[in-house]
Symmetry: D2
């Protein structure tokens, strides 16, 4: 089978993570079809050329339309900012390219639906970048639930806690401006929690949320010092226009109750993307800061030795672990992308849609918007209202 | 100063916990006024006499009215079921006795307000049994917050998770019947979380909740086997009329966001009464299953060694620890009651109201009812609506 | 059956712990024979009278010989300093009293053997105070081993880590003077680890150790300030004559390998009395700072969910838990003494020796001395050399 | 500056880990000199060609002598079995190539000394593969010690616990045969612990050890099933000729006491490479199973908030973290090799010896052999005896 020739738009954080995944795949998953790192694209010619060299792409482009039109590209990887996802995806679909788009799929539900339609109409493969699904410990959670070993699910508690803007002097970067970022913690972090919940527990039925911007004004960004954005105490200030934190309660179609929170104001939490699931036969706990571990409890353990087990998901019994290192040898964040790309290559080889696809991107967007509406209107909102 | 002569009504779980506290106090806190274990009261003559002997009370009574009328009693301890709290408390106040009442103060807000009025009118001391405040680790949390060391508070996450009725064959005990218990998880467990939040973060402003009874029918209780209530698979079934789980979102008067949950369906959690607090200068985490520990994070720790500290609250720098054992030597659940009784004796000696008093019992009841109303009417309810 | 009338010598730390156990027993274990707190004994008349009142003893004595001779005493409890254990125990035996002696049984092996002989000759019950055996989590470890659920034992790692003398200005208290204390960390902390190992793994065969006194001179103790012993920077200094830390390797008769360490120089460890046991079918981990927990691993768990379980030993399936509070409600340090006294009362009622008895005290002393000899002579020493 | 052209011998576990490091380096550390993956070498032509393709090397060789002689190679990477290290290293030195040799440097001290001499004489760079030094959390430990923030070191406890041969039916693979492997747990795992101790605490002074082979006979290896070596219950058995576990006590030149253990019989421990260090100003704890974390305790923290902090070594304040992902995003095992190769490239660019060099390989070997001698002769052995 032929290699899949990739053209990637974007070369910052996600561009780096995806590039690494494409490079790693042939080495660790040699039996799957290969992604060929054909062209990387960005508007700044010098910067994209630097990234091309550093990440190992064959060509550099500065116009994404040209990239999409190239004959030697099979797959368009959209690692660019969210506000250009839609236009690129629709163009890529029209050009008959497969699409791998970072989350959030679009800035709003309507756009994401359009993107899905375009991809479906074009008959191309489409994937959305909910990478956390691909941690082996999360895959284990999925397996235990699917096999009924946790029983009927009663509770889902999902948290995504960060602390990078707790300091009120942290500057007003683009992620804190609604016109660029679309949303704050909710769309950035909450989207991951929503997808995780859908992956593990199933569809949301109704939601009610609350939201807050704790620090309402921040210094405008000063000069970049050493790669870090540093604020200036005397700098003029601007309005923060996104949420610092958004919480919501949810009822799932399957009957479970959900409590979900995304915040950038949880001091001490660098990246706590965690969940706990309680079912009729057991419970599961996961925290991304200990990405290789899943805590597992079974109600039918012998009476005198009941307790949460700390399972290190690096054994041969665990997903993907055979590709990496011996039991007990940790993998990390970047590996979730490698597994994601593995799924994408498998799907292309097997001529099926990858999972998660744009369908999941749309479903996540619907929940995000239902929460937004519930906050605005101060009432419970059914997901079905948005469809 | 004279001893405080106690008459206690109730001799089951709480009666045992309180008796132990009265016995322990003179030994571990010898410098405070002594509680004298004068009389214990219950309706079953044989059972109350057995309890008298086991717990070490001087007299036994079977009629609480007689107990309240005794001249040799200064303090009435109400460890009886919730549905009799009001009548006893009002009678005790009328008789000029101090009152120590277990939580929940009453079955509803109106009753609790009446009780507070009666106690205030009579000019007696009144205390409500929110014992978890008195864990040294919780006292440390309070101190750190009061001293501003956590800064302005942004988030409060409170959970009370148990799992004793996950088994659908567990019988329909009185705690699962609304007419007797008043409420399920919400009033039993949620009340503790609400009080803890008020103690640490301050007053609630508005709430919205959701609630569920996962197992709607259960076998009627069979015979008691070996002290445990065991269900019979073929027994006739009855309706569960209380909530198995109740969750709510909250906004605090001080601006913090709260997420609170009480459930008896969290497999693997025997008694997880936990909170996390995130502030502008740090964070705190507590879990009652590790009652001696507080996790503490400060934003101003040196950059290379920032992280949650596991503080074992058994040092001389911690509340009450001087009374017990050397650093590192754990105390447990029962000690929270000893500290509670210590506060009560101190308050009597100093002629001031103890804390928490009936005022706190009333405030907690208001939040409980606001949540109930928010569930019924599917909308945000301000606490002020109930006052 | 008659109550057991107790006469206790000593009223400091251990006297307080034992008094609490005697007081608690009838309340929490009402079905066993009762200890009657008859007389407490100490040399300082005012102090012992104060302790009598605080702890709840009937009489006070200032001469232990008189106590031993009293007709109304059945059991002598030796909570006095180690250097008087032997004389009292032998006198008590001669007077036909049962004996409950704190650890270490004596200052050396020869003395402890004499004590055992005296007790055996007199036909009285004899117990030594290795209280840590009586934590429910430790009892669970014992049960799992006894039932073969951990299989053949390969490794025992026992640590007792404290940090109360890390500060070099901490004064030269009596525990740091050989003539009074007999030994430092080794006899004080190591003795507990040795007994725990014997209890769980069986007899020691041979040992080799090393030892160090890190801070060789300390200020002579100044005045006592607020109950704490505080050193004076300008105070004259004296020699520390005991070990700050002692480590040893061991081979057990059953074939297991042991690594044992006792130190007072482990900053951050208030009271880490911990062990790990690895066997052919599983592993166990315990840390006294989390006294209610046992970590348990089984090799035959399903392949995808293998991991250490955190068992909270507060369920009805666990030793003693029925006497206390519901599952998940912690008990603490002092409860180990209540369980110990429970065993003592049971043994008296059943006319058998309690466990641990002086036999265990002697065996522990033999290991302690074998380690001492191995350090002095820089060679492996078989326990049998000392017998 | 020119790229460093690498020729690597070996393509199994270590070959894969090193290949990944060479590939990752230019992407994550673009500012250092580049390793060029020139040629990979192994005896099995088909297998080495497969590895070449999978790992991304330019050429394949089947004769390491040819590789060493190639003009287009600057650095020889020895990832082959231990018994051929010496011959290759000496040849490489003679050919003027830099050498990067996996640990253990050689099968014995004498050989390792010869290798060091050869490299020094040739004036080439030499590095030994103690990769665990390069975890950011370990680098943080080193930094805290170097800056005096832990004070004078009193205790070092190092453990390397695995469990892959607990099953007595696990077959007699080459690692369990002395003639091939040289040593068992001691040389394989203990070597890492020894190097870590030297890195953090300094030189060993004297040691005494003990050793055991718990399962003395095992089935001869059967056919390979699915990549795993599976034993056959009826297969003929052979003798295990290496240690299953080796423990030793140590005294460091700086005065600290050490306790070190390596075992493959610790059920539940997939790869617990851990240490704890106690000093006069604080303590440190590390466990490789949570490779991103360091537990840190300071004696001078405020009295009421003393406790071990869990530091996630992924902040910008931590070594190497700038190269990878944002704070809280874990890296894993393989990254230690990338950092190791980074140090090697830096050293070549700066024309200095990398650290750890063969000098460290020799020093580690001396400790290993001193322990062996101490076991054989049942006495304390000074490291100086071997020099």
């Amino acid at each position: 089978m032929n290699d899949v020739r990739v053209g990637m738009i974007g070369y910052k954080f996600m561009g780096k993570a995806h590039s690494n995944a494409y490079r790693a795949l042939p080495m660790f998953f040699p039996n799957v079809i290969r992604p060929e790192m054909k062209a990387i694209c960005g508007r700044d010619e010098r910067a994209v050329e630097k990234a091309r060299l550093q990440f190992g792409w064959e060509y550099a482009e500065t116009d994404w339309r040209k990239l999409v039109d190239r004959d030697d590209i099979d797959l368009i990887d959209i690692s660019a900012p969210s506000d250009v996802h839609k236009e690129i995806a629709i163009a890529a679909a029209a050009a008959g390219k497969h699409i791998f788009c970072e989350k959030p799929l679009a800035l709003n539900l309507a756009d994401s639906v359009e993107m899905l339609s375009a991809a479906e109409k074009a008959g191309v493969k489409h994937m959305v970048g909910f990478n956390y699904r691909f941690a082996p410990a999360v895959q284990l959670a999925k397996k235990l639930i699917a096999e009924g070993r946790i029983g009927e699910i009663y509770h889902y508690r999902g948290l995504f806690l960060q602390d990078w803007i707790v300091d009120p002097e942290f500057p007003l970067v683009w992620r804190l401006q609604k016109e660029i970022a679309g949303s704050g913690s909710h769309g950035d972090l909450g989207a991951h929690v929503i997808d995780m919940a859908r992956f593990l527990v199933g569809e949301f039925q109704e939601v009610i949320g609350m939201s807050e911007t704790f620090v309402k004004e921040r210094p405008l960004p000063g000069s970049m010092v050493g790669g870090e954005t540093v604020g200036d105490k005397n700098a003029p200030r601007g309005q923060v226009t996104v949420d610092d934190a958004t919480l919501f309660l949810a009822r799932f179609a399957g009957g479970a109750l959900g409590s979900i929170e995304a915040t950038r104001f949880a001091a001490g939490h660098r990246c706590t993307n965690s969940f706990e699931i309680n079912g009729s036969r057991g419970s599961l706990k996961f925290d991304f800061e200990r990405v290789n571990e899943l805590q597992v409890y079974f109600t039918d353990d012998a009476h005198d030795v009941q307790g949460f087990r700390r399972v290190l998901a690096t054994d041969s019994a665990h997903a993907y672990s055979g590709a990496w290192w011996p039991p007990g040898h940790s993998i990390g964040y970047e590996h979730t992308f490698t597994h994601e790309v593995y799924e994408l290559m498998l799907a292309i080889a097997e001529d099926r849609q990858p999972s998660p696809s744009f369908v999941d991107g749309v479903a996540c967007q619907a929940v995000l918007e239902a929460v937004d509406r519930s906050i605005e209107e101060r009432r419970w909102v059914a997901i079905s209202e948005l469809q």
